[in-house]
Amino acid sequence: MTLYASLVEWVMSALIIVGGFFSLVGAIGLQRLPDFLSRLHAPTKASTLGVGGVLLAAILEPMRVGAMPVLHVLLLTLFVFISAPVSAQFLASAALRSGAGSALGRKPDEFVEEPASESVPPHRG
């Protein structure tokens, strides 16, 4: 095995291990954080990063045998990175509307910034 191929293999292994670690962190955060609005951000950030690491390793994989990196996996990476914040936004909006309870003793309304004047109703998600 040439030096170049083993270098690519080391980078891929590091990306896969870091990706697995971040996805595990996201799942543990989903399990252990106290209320929904804090549970929301653990998988949407950490799991996206984990899948992003694995997808980067998949992009690099053909370089092991000296071929060009595959770019249709890059499409998948872009789609995951665009769609995860959008679905998190929709989930947060659904939680605010349905009034998901908070373990910190705050009502979901207190997370929303109140406008300065009294006449304008508060903007809700």
Binding site: S6, E9, W10, M12, S13, A14, I16, I17, G19, G20, F21, S23, L24, G26, A27, I28, L30, Q31, F36, R39, L40, P43, T44, S47, T48, G50, V51, V54, L55, A57, A58, E61, P62, V65, H72, V73, L75, L76, F79, V80, S83, A84, V86, S87, F90, L91, S93, A94, A95, R97, S98, A100, G101
Partner: protein
């Protein structure tokens, strides 16, 4: 080296699937279940891509990447539809 990393990756993604499944069964609110379904499809995506890396080059590997792309599309649409159903009581007015 890559084999060890792939095994570790399989273990990490499988374990996070199991943890997300326990939140899916337990979640006190409906949005919790929806969020854990979202996490489940993202982790299944990672597992499929890992299986694609571990396989020798050929037809089956590009099929695995296409399955991953389909799961990403359908999972995103279903999460958005579920969130809209929870917040509006209706998916398409």
């Amino acid at each position: 080296m890559l084999d060890i990393a792939l095994t570790l990756g399989y273990c990490a993604f499988g374990l996070s699937l199991l943890i997300a499944l326990s939140r899916l069964l337990r979640g006190p609110e409906m949005v919790d279940r929806l969020l854990s379904l979202d996490t489940l499809y993202v982790n299944a995506l990672g597992l499929l891509v890992l299986a694609g890396i571990g396989r020798a080059a050929g037809e089956a590997r590009s099929a695995l990447f296409e399955v991953a792309l389909l799961i990403a599309l359908v999972g995103f649409v279903s999460t958005v539809a579920g969130a809209r159903f929870l917040s509006r009581g209706d998916v398409i007015e």
